[in-house]
Amino acid sequence: MEIKLVKNILQANEVIAAQNKELFAQKGVYVINLMGGAGAGKTTLLERTIERLKGKRRMAVIEGDIATSRDAERIAAHQIPAVQINTGGECHLDGNMVRTGLEQLNFDGIDLLVVENVGNLVCPAEFNIGEDAKAMVCSVAEGDDKPLKYPLMFQVSSVLLLNKIDLLPHVAFDVERFRADALKVNPRLEIMPVSCTTGEGLDAWLRWLEERSGIKGA
């Protein structure tokens, strides 16, 4: 006999992501899922963000890595609540792993939670964690062909930080071609060229975050 279903195979994750989202709404926390390839500059961007938002927004961070707690230690050095999730081999965070991380966080008074995903341009795009928006970091040192090679990640992201623009004189990266390809894949993608080393362009990112993270809470 045939059993008709029509069920998302990843439905179990969607259920948990929705529960996470509900918790975030109750606590008035705006949540970003920060994605990007390994070495694109996600953690450094977070550090610059924390420094500049000090006094304006209260932040917490969940770090996802296969191994080590280096990233959480870097964040904790800024006196920000930080939880490290070690996936042990899983190449992305999912709703359940983030839920486990949430159990170790005190949300009282937090405006903005950034979940830094595992460095990976493929899998994180498929797994919702209950976030309000996905942001991705791509650096000029990674080649300008990434939008066509990894379209799903570009499509699910609301904002893209094109990092390390201070290196442009030294790399063969065509910014206009990259921008054109990225906008073909996602016409609504907000692209922000930045340098976490010089600070150039970060104001636009901080404004973007401030506009969104001040609204939810009391």
Binding site: K7, K184, V185
Partner: protein
């Protein structure tokens, strides 16, 4: 992508659906996988075969329908199947489009029969 984890999620759904039918064996499972999904059908079959050995779904055929990427243009008010992952209308060039298909990772149906 890591099809093993996907295969496990799939097996959990299959076993849950077949549970009311005691002694049943799963013969066939029909899936739809969208073109933009990062799951590779052959890799999924391989992983599924590996984890169903000795169980109620051992030997079950995975029929996978690959769903093309299609978009609807709100200017032309028409839908198009597209080859490239561009959210741009192939006719009028407008970016005012929505994706209709292409991200599916779903189980459509399964066929079970009485156990031996």
């Amino acid at each position: 992508m890591h099809e093993l984890g996907i295969a496990q999620s799939l097996l959990e759904i299959v076993e849950q659906e077949a549970r009311p039918y005691e002694g049943a064996r799963v013969r066939r499972i029909v899936l739809r996988i969208g073109k933009l999904s990062t799951v590779v059908p052959d890799a999924l079959r391989f992983a599924f075969d590996a984890i169903t050995r000795g169980g109620m779904a051992e030997g079950a055929a995975l029929e996978i329908e690959e769903v093309p990427l299609s978009i609807r243009c709100h200017q032309c008010e028409e839908a198009f199947i597209v080859e490239d992952p561009f959210m741009i209308c192939p006719r009028c060039g407008a970016a005012d489009v929505e994706m209709i298909s292409g991200r599916e990772l779903e189980i459509r149906s399964m066929e079970i029969c009485d156990g031996d």
